[in-house]
């Protein structure tokens, strides 16, 4: 699943560690999300959407 996490993070000048702290996950998790190695659960996806003030669909794009 593609996502705009890296772009959204860069727009705010946050490091992966900054985003990880805000999401209460590890930096490795943020890296796995950004590189598309891991798709978040719905609760985490909602948390990400709330943090960036956008809808889930605006951040994550289904490749199917």
């Amino acid at each position: 699943m593609k996502n705009r996490l890296k772009v959204l993070r860069a727009e705010r000048d946050w490091s992966q560690a900054d985003l990880a702290a805000r999401l209460e996950v590890s930096r490795q998790t943020v890296n796995a999300l950004e590189t598309g190695k891991y798709d978040p659960s719905l609760p985490l996806a909602f948390k990400i959407a709330r943090l960036f003030g956008q809808s889930i669909e605006a951040i994550f794009q289904d490749e199917a």
């Binding site: 996950v25 490795q28 998790t29 796995a32 999300l33 985490l44």
Partner: protein, 132 residues
């Protein structure tokens, strides 16, 4: 690691250390009793199997760690490694069981948990390499 991951890891470390300390004490006590006395029946079973109780505690601690982990990606990786370790150790002991059945070796079921732990470590290393 993050602020949610650390408390669970700390609790896990404390619990595992406590379980292993109790294990060492109970094991020494059990072996001492088994060697110094002619135990029979239920008492023999109780004393001989007593060191398994703290091992149950260690296994429960691992389960609690999975439940208490707040980071879902780290939890997924750990659970994946545990599944691989279970498959690997079951395979190893199936082979050992057949070898023992044929009289080729004398397998020791006591090694089941240490072998599983070894397989878990191996699975985590392989998982970390593959996730790079």
């Amino acid at each position: 690691m993050n602020c949610e991951w650390n408390p669970a890891a700390r609790r896990y470390t404390v619990r595992i250390l406590a379980a292993m300390t109790v294990y060492a004490v109970v094991l020494v006590g059990s072996l001492t009793l088994l060697r110094s006395r002619e135990l029979e029946g239920p008492v023999l079973w109780l004393v001989a199997s007593a060191p398994a109780l703290p091992i149950f505690g260690a296994i429960a601690t691992m389960g609690a760690f999975v439940v208490e982990m707040k980071d879902e990606y780290q939890r997924m990786k750990l659970v994946r490694a545990m599944i691989v370790a279970t498959g690997l150790s079951l395979s190893i002991f199936t082979v050992l069981g057949f070898l023992e059945n044929a009289g080729a070796i004398q397998a020791d079921a006591l090694w089941a948990f240490p072998v599983w732990c070894g397989c878990l470590g191996l699975a985590q290393v392989v998982g970390a390499v593959l996730d790079r």
